[in-house]
């Protein structure tokens, strides 16, 4: 594990990715101390960028920078938790599917397909309306709708590892399904890690979407809530773009950071295997 970390940090992309992650996490953690003002406190609306309000104020008079900082806390907590929830369900179903009898696998995969084929956003809205507002519900909703992709990815990777002769050798030695699982798990750690990073990005985006629609919790500041109020208060007509661009940029930045990390991760994991297989060009 430590080897992987050091290899990642040797690559510029890795440094960028990890810094982005750390940066926003720290902002989120220390929000109460860093934020200049209370995000819901009202000042003069639509102020331009100034020293007192580094990102100006939104049409409702609230300081944009404070909203951004406090928002990062909620958005990140929601997306991290959701990512873990999605991975939890996806991993379990993917593993069960890959390691069970073909019939069970088939049934689980058809079920997965059903959820997968339903367009995400309407499904999310549907669940959100049923479960009601609140960020816990957002996490729940995301976990229940976004697991199919992950399940499929995990399943296909496990299936391909299952074909390899060393698994056959373990079976011949008498290993049962649980032991085989224990053997396979270390081989999919990098995949799980990379998937979680992707899921964090997607959860951020969907949280922002739900928040924008007001299905989150408008009484708690998040980046989605920022979009929500920006839209409601007509920030676009008023040409006050800060409350929209700022959170959008942050989400994009985190996304880019995650993708950088993932590409470094792939290279770190693969050349080990590539180097290890006797050099093909010879």
């Amino acid at each position: 594990m430590l080897k992987i970390l050091s290899l990642i940090l040797h690559d510029k992309r890795g440094i960028f990715g990890i810094s982005t992650l750390l940066f926003f996490s720290l902002i989120g953690i220390f929000a109460p101390y860093i934020s200049p003002y209370d995000p819901f406190a009202i000042w003069t609306p639509n102020l331009p960028i100034s020293l007192r309000h580094p990102l100006g104020t939104d049409p409702l008079g609230r300081d944009v920078l404070s909203q951004l900082i406090w928002g990062s806390r909620t958005s990140l907590i929601v997306s991290f938790t959701a990512a873990l929830g999605i991975m939890g369900i996806g991993l379990t179903i993917g593993l069960i599917s890959a390691l069970s009898r073909p019939l069970v696998d088939e049934v689980l995969m058809r079920f997965t397909d059903v959820i997968l084929y339903i367009p995400k956003l309407p499904l999310l809205i549907f669940f959100a309306l049923i479960l009601g507002r609140g960020f816990l519900n957002v996490v729940l909703v995301l976990s229940l709708t976004m697991w199919p992709q992950t399940a499929r990815v995990i399943r296909s990777e496990v299936l391909s590892i299952k074909q390899r002769p060393f698994i056959d050798a373990a079976k011949i030695a008498g290993a049962g399904t649980l032991k085989i699982l224990a053997i396979i798990l270390p081989h999919i750690f990098p995949l799980i890690l990379a998937s979680i990073l992707t899921l964090i990005t997607w959860s951020l985006i969907y949280e922002a979407s739900l928040g924008f629609l007001g299905l989150g919790d408008p009484s708690v500041m998040s980046w989605g809530t920022m979009f929500h109020y920006a839209f409601l208060s007509g920030a676009i007509y008023l040409r006050n773009y800060a409350p929209i661009i700022a959170p959008g940029l942050c989400i994009t930045l985190i996304g880019v950071g995650m993708n950088s990390l993932i590409s470094v991760l792939e290279e770190v994991v693969n050349p080990k295997i590539k180097e290890v297989r006797r050099w093909k060009p010879f």
Binding site: A169, A170, I172, G174
Partner: protein, 327 residues
């Protein structure tokens, strides 16, 4: 339980009886179930303490039979009897026992080792599965098994990618030996090993077989390896057994296909002299009658219509060919 060839004999460890293994082909356009007939009604037995060589080209079913014996493939029909018991009808304890008695060595030594574990990790897996030794003793046991394959204990902490091909295969052999099995199936053990080291692996297999009174099933497409190691040679073609002979009393192959293989493998024979005819057929739609007839230079009308069965032509020498039918 009777087979066509032998009555159930005490000196035979494994009996394969009317074994059929068909693999369904998915996604057929016309919804018809088509099958690859990998193993199509095979019956023979494996003698104790001998090396049986299973020979044939790729796709003849020999690897499938090997996998079926270790229960990695499920028979479509037929039985596999090990030490008197049907392996698919074993209870839990008997199954555990079976897993300790029968082991396998694979073709690709690198792919058959867990790359994320050290040699010790790979070797101790069978031990931990069977709860056979305490942690403190495991290392000692693994070191001693490594010595059997002529590797020093310092190899225990190496990873597979740090070893050469020959060393990896020796680790695989050590892993197969660690549970002290009675029967080992070696599936193309030398085909991915360099020519200068093949002899080393072969020599090791024979030494271990003699030292521990093992029974070996050697699967290979390489005739020189089969001839060099086997006591009994079983030739397969397109899912069927076409010849069985003892190599010690070896005189000549009698079946046209075995002869073709023997001539083709001998590069000192010029190309013009080889009886080459026809192309390799498919196992989905095998030829009618004797499967070899499209490529056989002495095929007759009868060969196209009827399937020959294995008949004892000389003591211990069985051939499935109408040429040797004595009526």
């Amino acid at each position: 339980m009777e087979s066509e060839i032998d009555a159930f004999r005490q000196d035979h460890l494994v009996h394969i009886i009317h074994l059929k293994i068909y693999f369904p082909i998915k996604g057929s356009v016309f919804f018809s179930k088509r099958y690859v007939r990998a193993v199509d009604d095979v019956t023979f037995s494996i003698e104790k303490n001998k090396i049986t060589g299973l020979m044939g080209e790729s796709g003849c079913g020999k690897t499938t039979i090997g996998r079926a014996i270790v229960m990695l493939e499920r028979p479509t029909e037929g039985k596999i009897i090990f030490e008197g018991k049907d392996i698919w009808k074993l209870n839990k304890t008997e199954l555990k026992n079976f897993r300790r008695s029968v082991q396998m060595i694979f073709q690709d030594p690198f792919a058959s080792l867990n790359p994320l574990q050290t040699v010790f990790g790979n070797l101790s897996l069978p031990l931990s599965v069977h709860g056979l030794s305490k942690k403190s003793e495991m290392r000692e046991l693994c070191a001693r098994t490594l010595e059997e394959v002529k590797l020093s204990p310092e190899y225990l902490d190496k990873y597979p990618h740090q070893l050469s091909g020959g060393e990896r295969q020796r680790v695989c052999i050590a892993r197969a030996m660690i549970l002290k099995p009675r029967f080992i199936i070696a599936d193309e053990p030398t085909s991915m090993i360099d020519a200068s080291i093949k002899g080393e692996i072969c020599k090791l297999l024979i030494e271990l077989k003699n030292k521990y009174n093992l029974t070996l099933l050697l699967i290979s497409h390489d005739l020189s390896i089969i001839r060099g190691l086997s006591d009994v040679i079983v030739t397969m073609y397109l899912g069927k057994v076409v010849e069985i002979l003892s190599s010690k009393k070896y005189t000549e192959f009698l079946h046209p296909y075995s002869q073709l293989l023997a001539y083709a493998s001998d590069f000192s024979i010029e190309d013009e002299k080889l009886p080459l005819k026809g192309d390799v057929p498919s196992a989905i739609n095998p030829p009618s009658g004797c499967r070899f007839h499209p490529r056989c230079i002495i095929a007759t009308e009868k060969c196209k219509k009827e399937v020959p069965s294995l008949k004892e032509v000389n003591p211990g020498h069985y051939v499935a060919c109408f040429l040797y039918d004595r009526r």
